[in-house]
Symmetry: C2
Subunit: 115 residues, 2 copies
């Protein structure tokens, strides 16, 4: 997974568990694409301080994921829901409707068991 994408997903799930200060700096670095120098100046801390804080946040977010596996669980669920959605699209070639509904039923059962 591309790093910035992974950071975004992890932050989306666990960002609320960081402190406000951590969130502010992490967002500037990861989402607002600011340089370490810019963030350091804005917050009155050293570049090294900013660097360490971001690394620490990455570590915290990964630790939560290793315990709760939410990114993983939600990704799996989204994949299955995407498959369900595709099965609702009627194409010219027209797959058997009963088969589609059965496919959707199976996927939703799997989802209910996993979520």
């Amino acid at each position: 997974m591309e790093k910035i994408f992974e950071q975004g997903l992890l932050y989306d799930f666990y960002g609320e568990l960081l402190t406000e200060h951590q969130r502010s700096i992490y967002e500037d670095a990861v989402f607002n694409d600011m340089s370490l120098g810019e963030i350091a100046e804005e917050n009155g801390i050293s570049r090294q301080g900013v660097h360490d804080l971001i690394k620490r946040c990455d570590k915290i977010l990964h630790e939560y994921e290793s315990k709760l596996h939410l990114v993983e669980r939600f990704s799996n669920a989204k994949e299955k829901i995407g498959k369900i959605e595709k099965l609702t699209v009627i194409t010219e070639s027209g797959t058997d409707i009963t088969e589609r509904l059965e496919g959707i039923r199976q996927l939703s059962e799997e989802l209910l068991a996993e979520l």
Copy 2:
């Protein structure tokens, strides 16, 4: 929500964030239906200690939910998936198939946006 059911859901999501000691005692009280006295004796702590620990765990689990809302998000998702599953069941009276597929498509889109 019935308390023990709510505790179960919260524990299911956030239990891994408690310490092993907290988990062990919380499980005995909430899932193994042991009395405070039994747990106290087994762990060599006072009944009051057990009581306080369980209360503290409840508080921690609720705090995580107030920040991450996972129980809420998953409950909503499960409800919609349940609706999808129902729409796959073909009844005698036979609702219009195109309508069913459209209903399923809408629900899956909502799910993808929310998850």
